[in-house]
Symmetry: C2
Subunit: 333 residues, 2 copies
Amino acid sequence: MKPNSKLTLIGFVVLALAFAPKVVRAADPLSSWNDGKAKQSIVAFVEKVTKEGSPDFVPAPERIATFDNDGTLWAEQPMYFQLLFALDRVKALAPQHPEWKDKEPFASLLKGDVKGALAGGEKAIAEIVMVTHAGMTTEEFERIVKDWIATAKHPTTGKLYTEMVYQPMLELLAYLRANGFKTFIVSGGGVEFMRPWTEKVYGIPPEQIIGSSIQTKFEMRDGKPVLVRLPNLNFIDDKEGKPVGIQTNIGRRPIAAFGNSDGDLQMLQWTAAGAGPRFMLLIHHTDAEREWAYDRTSHVGRLDKALDEAAARGWTVVDMKKDWKVIFPFGGK
Amino acid sequence: MKPNSKLTLIGFVVLALAFAPKVVRAADPLSSWNDGKAKQSIVAFVEKVTKEGSPDFVPAPERIATFDNDGTLWAEQPMYFQLLFALDRVKALAPQHPEWKDKEPFASLLKGDVKGALAGGEKAIAEIVMVTHAGMTTEEFERIVKDWIATAKHPTTGKLYTEMVYQPMLELLAYLRANGFKTFIVSGGGVEFMRPWTEKVYGIPPEQIIGSSIQTKFEMRDGKPVLVRLPNLNFIDDKEGKPVGIQTNIGRRPIAAFGNSDGDLQMLQWTAAGAGPRFMLLIHHTDAEREWAYDRTSHVGRLDKALDEAAARGWTVVDMKKDWKVIFPFGGK
């Protein structure tokens, strides 16, 4: 290219920019949402509470929005991802535990019989969770979760778990924050299982993550303070526990709450019972093709009573199949 | 005044403003601090961690600063203010409890014998705390605290309790926030006793208050969800409990921690043990004239082991008498 033609090209670009249309249309912050009742109800609520001088105006510090995680921000099938993490950890730890070969639920699990291992019900699950989640320091557990989440793949999609988040919900989180909301996770999952990756994936910092927990104990090891994770439950952040967790950690009532199962019902009831404008939303898993379809009889993320209450009280229900243009950032499963 | 002279006056003001010196000296954000080692160490730390490109730079989301409350942000003599609240509540509730006339610790208390009432030690205090802090909903308790804090007066100064906050610490909180820090309270006091007033007084929102707590229970009353405060301890946010409370609620380690007693030692140790630049500060109550002087043998806010460790490890120790120009916004006591 000769200097002259280069100059001409630059001149052309400058001219083109100078005459480009000045009015650029604002990009739709909820572009993965189809234009239906669900999307409209979200936008109407946000516009209402952020309009200064309106009777529905809510000052920014009180714009607290709480989100369930499993089935609301990321998928939860064929079972909770934290349980898949625990199963992977059992396999990784097995060489240090030769006794597991003859001991349920570990014996079945190590033979690849997940169903057999989980046949022991809540007791079996609790045992698996405790051996994989306790007995190390908080820093060691954080490292274990970080390593797993960076590499482990979902059993049916083959995707990283952090890719199995809902694109429309990522947009909703960002939209709310752009409108002065403070977004929190209030999940039945373990709080320390979420914190290592939620800031990067959802833009929600560790101090805005509320979840279930086991006890920890402060102690000195070689003159260095550590927090050791103990095999005792501390708090179950599910059902009646969600409003308790919200009050303990946030200390004020959300004005908007988002869930997908009966485990979120009390959080939505608690949110709805406050004064002033309120917004309650349930995600209904209706898309067997792009995600999964389940509700009233599902073992994971059962949505039954909460679906009835949403209908009776006029809460927003998202029909994933109809309301969402895409499910995951990579599309459907 | 004639129109003319009015115009002349306006003209003069306009001229005066126009010729006013353009370079205004930035006000000192820590103007109540004398220029000594304590103030210098604070400023040096803040400048270091906020200087982009420097090896000590800390990104804003990680600038977590935790503050004890009693004796660090507000006074704690002649006894913890929350205990004075509980004593006031016993008096207010006495008409509904005729049986208290013959039952310790209430009998002594109602006769005005506080010393006698507290002679029963921790058990007596726990009884007083539970009857005054439990048995109502969270909303009812919030209202009780708000009413008390708005009207109750300190027994020796006659000031509102919210006036008995340390002016230099209010400046420090604001200075840290202006430099991108997120400020938290981590107190042995009750979390729901602090939240109703800490946002207004310290600029710290409810979700950044960590404290001791009793259990709460979600239930429906006349179709309305409430959280009922139960007479059972949930968490003691003191000593070894402070790092536990920090991890549970914040989920990341502070880079700066501020306390005044042995109850804060583990919080400072936990803060000090992180990687990168760290700042630990203890307030030493040395001013019997303007506030109170106490340390190694005090029943309230004992400062003994932590004072030794601060000396050994080079943590900043504030000498209230020497380092603070004023103690309270209204001056000294």
